[in-house]
């Protein structure tokens, strides 16, 4: 059973299908086949985990489309959320 779901072949983040703990093995489906990642943080259910290295300002891709950009260098297995993602759209800050 997958731990995290990569929704679209272009995606560089996956959605964890249950809460995972730091250091835990995470099985995620990629278009090249299922791969194992090590969770770098505790990640709540439904939140995103990086499946590749994401340098600063790299587009974050989910549903096959850009949802924002990396604010800091993000490593595979890291929790991807408000701390390390920015988005110019829909807010004025």
């Amino acid at each position: 059973m997958l731990t995290a779901l990569c929704i679209h072949p272009r995606d560089n983040v996956a959605v964890v299908l249950r809460e995972v703990r730091k250091g835990e093995d995470v099985l995620v489906n990629l278009n090249t086949g299922a791969v194992h990642l090590t969770a770098q943080n505790d990640i709540p259910f439904g939140h995103k985990i990086a499946v590749t290295t994401l340098p600063v300002s790299k587009p974050i891709i989910k549903y096959g489309e850009e949802i924002g950009n990396a604010k800091t260098l993000i490593q595979p297995g890291e929790w991807v959320h408000l701390e390390n993602v920015y988005c110019e759209r829909g807010r004025e800050d």
Partner: protein, 390 residues
Amino acid sequence: MHTFYGYRRPQGLPGVRNLVAIIPSVFCANTVVRRITQQVAGTVELTHPVGCSQVGLDLELTAKALKGVGRHPNFYGVVVVGLGCERFRAKELADSIAATGKPVEMLVIQEEGDTQEAIAKGVLLAQKLVEQAAKQQKEEFPLSELCLGLKCGGTDATSGIAANPVLGWVTDQIVAEGGSAMLTEVTELIGAEHVLARRAVTPQVGQKILETIHNMENKLKVGTAHCDLQNRSALISPGNEDGGVTTVVEKALGGIHKGGTGPITGVLAYGEPLVEHGLYILDCPGHDGEAVTGLAASGCQVVVFTTGRGTPTGFPGVPVVKITGNTSTYERMKFNLDFNAGEIIDKGLSIPEVGTGLLKTVIETASGVPTKAEIGLHDELFCITRSYGG
């Protein structure tokens, strides 16, 4: 091909309920409307806070919402209640509704004397309409006669992978059978406009989609530009963020799954009814009440509302089917939620497998089975959108 059992109307789509609506033209008539509704079973109250001291577009939006809701096919007939001195006249509302051919009665409090006399007269008018409505028999209609309103609220990360794709599958089935559906919450389409524009039936419709979403984004920019408002500028809620949704674009891309994968026929203005069947975008902000009111005013007989975090709300006279992709939310809020799409995540079921069940629920709802929001007497979603300063 699927069918449902509804009520034929003199024009337009059939109703999926057969109620009598009691509608004030102005908020000053709200208590009279409420008292009438309390005394006559089979009626629903559509009380609201507007109808006077408004000008321009703001007053026109109120007029469009009240006329659209009054003309809604789920209402057999309507009693309009005015005060007498308001800007939005009871007669304008009553005439607009009567143009559909349905029975309409009108009373004006200042002409009746006082509120007690108005209530007494209104009760008799409502009772007469309820008795007439009760004589109408249901008929079988093809799914092409159904228009589904699409809405999400209390979004979490399960919405984009389970509830919205399942609703999108249902949307595709209904549109394929000649029916209609409306996406709205334009504030929450920001960032997904290019994806939607690619699905437009013509380049003109594509351009209209881009313009509609850009206009909404510009309005928001103006509204949040002041430095004192910087901490009021987020378009996604703390609940969305706690649920794993990081950006407004991510929310939009997850949200548009509700509209399935088919072509987009057109863009409708607020309160505008559909002419040809198909999938539409309705120009209305994302506030749950304003959006569902917009969907009702444009004639959607059933609204399907996806929610990850769980919301109990309903609309007077229009069934709102609640669906979640989060099994834990479903287990906690069983009294409020109609359908669990969470087995896509928990058990790896396919979207069509779960979608088949949701389509059945939608058809049963359209044929008269009450939603959890109807059973719980929820009516919070009647909320008319406003426009200040243009």
